[in-house]
């Protein structure tokens, strides 16, 4: 097999396959995120991230990487909160990506205010 038989489409497909096995965290699954939110998060933060409870943060439209970082910190104990430690403790790394992406995708309540 000579190099000339490697068409661009073959190379593209090979690249995609390689990427799939490259160890990059799987893209967030919004459906799985929604299911997890309904299970764990909704009671305090609402399904769309809006909550009437003043002490609980609104999450709708927040940056997903910030939400994921916060959950990881609650899980590891770097951020200390007994309620959130319990909640985040039940989440896997993929769950964290999913719920963060889900809330980030909700209609933006949160905006950048200068």
């Amino acid at each position: 097999m000579s190099i000339k038989s490697l068409t661009p489409s073959t190379l593209a497909i090979a690249a995609c396959i390689l990427l799939a096995f490259s160890g990059v965290a799987a893209a967030a699954d919004l459906k799985a995120g929604e299911a997890k939110v309904k299970q764990i998060c909704q009671a305090c933060h609402g399904l769309d991230g809006n909550t009437p409870i003043a002490e609980n943060p609104t999450l709708g439209g927040q940056y997903p990487d910030y939400l994921a970082k916060a959950l990881r910190d609650y899980k590891s104990g770097l951020r200390k909160n007994p309620v959130m430690a319990g909640m985040a403790g039940t989440l896997s790394a993929q769950d964290i990506e999913n719920v963060a992406a889900y809330y980030a995708a909700q209609p933006a309540v949160l905006v950048t205010r200068h």
Partner: protein, 117 residues
């Protein structure tokens, strides 16, 4: 003499009551005041897509429309050292309790808030 004692006692009680009253009155946050105090905040929180570089790279959280009580609680936690971000700790250390409620009012978008200290 007796009436003087009465006057003195009454005056003392009233003064004491006034002092206690002042200590327990909750602070009122004003968004207008907060708008004047947020130069330190807008440099990171006021720019869409701005990211903190240390200790990890991630987006600085949006604050506009967040609950005032949550913002105030977070600033107090940074001030007490209960939250870890070094820059936020340093900034919160410079804020008075009044500053905190004013900033919370400003970012939450409500003109005035009453928050417990």
């Amino acid at each position: 003499m007796k009436s003087l004692v009465m006057v003195f006692t009454t005056a003392s009680v009233l003064l004491l009551a006034g002092a206690v009253q002042a200590e327990t009155k909750p602070l009122v946050g004003s968004a207008a005041a907060g708008a004047q105090k947020n130069e330190m905040c807008s440099g990171c929180h006021g720019i869409t897509g701005w990211r903190t570089a240390y200790p990890e790279v991630y987006n600085v959280p949006k604050l506009g429309g967040q609950h005032a009580a949550y913002i105030a609680a977070a600033l107090h936690e940074y001030k007490r050292g209960e939250r870890s971000h070094p820059s936020m700790r340093a900034i919160a250390a410079t804020l008075s309790d009044q500053d905190i409620v004013d900033l919370a009012a400003y970012y939450s978008g409500t003109p005035e808030t009453t928050a417990k200290n």
